[in-house]
Symmetry: C2
Subunit: 353 residues, 2 copies
DNA sequence: CTGAAAGCGCTTACAG
DNA sequence: CTGAAAGCGCTTACAG
């Protein structure tokens, strides 16, 4: 396939409108932009001329002149398939869109799952067609952050980037603290044979969650299995843990999707959750209350995260320096670490363990 | 919240590069665009100067001059939440992105779930910042298609728009034929007490599927319940059908998501599918094989649909007139209308009905 | 192979 | 309140 050069399309310009209205283009421009100091008579003439000529301002010319576009990009470093498989993305996109909408800026999503798409996104940002950009899920291996960090445009990353953090802003849940508290919750149940299912080793956030887990279990060597944040990888990891020969009575899983997968595996083997093995996830995504047993998890406050992301991007556009914000997480207790009613389960739990 | 006017950021221009390289800006432009007829010496000087000055071409200036942007928009008339709830969107977006990638054009997604977002998307297209646009799920009530149809930019709609079809291209599954064949499949099972769960009445495609259903059942008055294409609305509609007092032994559901919801309701009530009631959906989305019993459905060939959408947009950009394409559907038989093995179920089916 | 020049369509001080 | 003019940063015939 080849690029088709667009046919020239006739469009009326500001000069056409000016001629039709019998005014100068300066006056047309002033009414198009709602500037004051235009006589009612001129305004009416221009408005009529705009209609008559079917005029629309040319965005390239306007932005070139204004030196900004009033648009920001949201770069998603995933294929559409993976994007749609993880409910967190919906929450993040919706949050950013909702906050940004009130600011008068417009948003364009750039899917950057393939190398070509990443190159296009980088080009778009480097060429100054957007005033700023959000970056979601920047896997280290792509080096996209590195290339973008030299762009002359403010950047806000969702999550903690592994490298080049000085020139960009980021906002993230407090991963270490969240993972530590999740693990302590498991410990508080009286469980002592803990394991963890980690996210991809190349994602900084995944490493931090593992670190928080280690903080909580102290000096004991961690029993771990790595997944890639997908549901099926959680099943596989759980199976490896189960078949490893280690005794396990509780697992901290680095995200809800993998926790759901772990639950699938446990359910398949007839292992009772939480009686035999307690499970805690991370995210409180839409899947957490939907699985059976429902999933205890550390809630990421994406509403606060996205609000802060927008705030930092706007600040960056206004000339402020990059800033880093950590947002706290909340423990949400559900069936996978508790019974219902709580008391009943607790006593049952004490008897069986 | 208010708009922050961006601080002026220093960026080197083509003149800076020309000065640093000791050539004219014409020459710089030629090497930036890979044009022939540049001496190796000049090329090297320019390349060094580009690096030294950290130069990037300004997209607005380039596009203003070139009169096209090499970018197309994909307008999604849904909130991010709904977008992510329906697996069809992922398939469509991924399909368009994949085909478009090979053409050298870049893609930007515009979420147009709210009135403000729709206004932004329309503005973006009217201002000629994209060379063309895809439109997905254009609910009639928004009038977005109407506003866009006067834009001086080719448009390709996914699905059959209810109005203004002359100025835009569209590609759609053959809804009428698909629905008719789905219903005939139900009839071929020996079922005679049919009902249908329809999509939203304001969506043209939903009306066409109902029409196809009516074609198949002939003169009998259709028993219908309307949903809104979500899973939960399918449950509700199924419940209404069940509580209506009509005898029902087979249901054509206008999409898979609602069919899954119908299955939920049937499972809850302990009604056996397909023994007591057979169910057929529409789409063959990822949920169809995932539910239990797995769902018989009419497959929409989204790979062909998206390929054709890109083809038509490119053709439109090249100056060709709008065109309309209908793509055929395929019957995919699974458990919800058949047993496994087939023979076993068939005999069982004959005995119980 | 290269430079000088025109022009893409706007906005915005600057005079008046 | 309004017009004439400059200029945003490019690309592309046009000469040479």
């Amino acid at each position: 396939m080849t690029i088709n050069h667009p046919v020239p399309r006739v469009r009326s310009t500001i000069d056409d409108v000016a001629a039709a209205a019998g005014v100068s283009r300066g006056t047309v421009s002033r009414v198009m932009n709602g500037k004051p100091w235009v006589s009612d008579e001129a305004r009416r003439a221009v408005e009529a001329a705009v209609k008559a000529t079917d005029y629309r301002v040319n965005g390239h010319a306007r932005n070139l002149r204004r030196q900004h576009s009033n648009m920001v990009a949201l770069v998603l470093c995933e294929s559409a398939g993976r994007l749609f498989a993880d409910p967190n993305f919906a929450v993040i996109i919706e949050g950013i869109a909702a906050v940004l909408e009130k600011t008068g800026m417009s948003l364009c999503l750039l899917i950057a799952g393939t190398a070509t798409e990443r190159a296009n996104a980088i080009e778009m940002i480097h060429s100054n067609k957007v005033d700023g950009a959000f970056l979601v899920s920047a896997h280290d291996e792509y080096g996209i952050l590195e290339q973008l960090s030299t762009a002359n445009v403010p950047l806000v990353v969702c999550g903690i980037p592994a490298g080049v953090p000085d020139t960009v802003s980021y906002v993230s849940s407090d991963e270490v603290d969240g993972a530590r508290r999740a693990t302590e919750h498991l410990l508080s149940l009286g469980r002592s044979a803990l394991a963890t299912i980690t996210g991809p080793a190349d994602i900084a956030g995944a490493k931090l969650r593992l670190f928080g887990y280690q903080l909580a279990i102290g000096k004991s060597t961690p029993i771990t299995a790595e997944g890639d944040y997908t549901r099926s990888s959680g099943s596989l990891a759980m199976a490896r843990l189960l078949d490893s020969g280690n005794t396990i009575d509780a697992v901290f899983v680095a995200n809800d999707l993998m926790a759901a997968g772990a639950l699938d595996e446990l359910n398949n083997r007839g292992i009772k959750v939480p009686q035999e093995i307690a499970i805690i996830g991370f995210d409180d995504s839409s899947i957490a209350p939907a699985v059976s047993p429902s999933l205890t998890t550390m809630r990421q406050r994406f509403d606060d995260i996205t609000r802060e992301m927008v705030r930092l991007l706007l600040a960056g556009i206004a000339g402020e320096s990059p800033r880093h914000t950590l947002i706290g997480t909340e423990l949400v207790v559900r069936e996978s670490t508790a019974g219902f009613p709580f008391e009943t389960f607790s006593s049952h739990h004490l008897r069986t363990i």
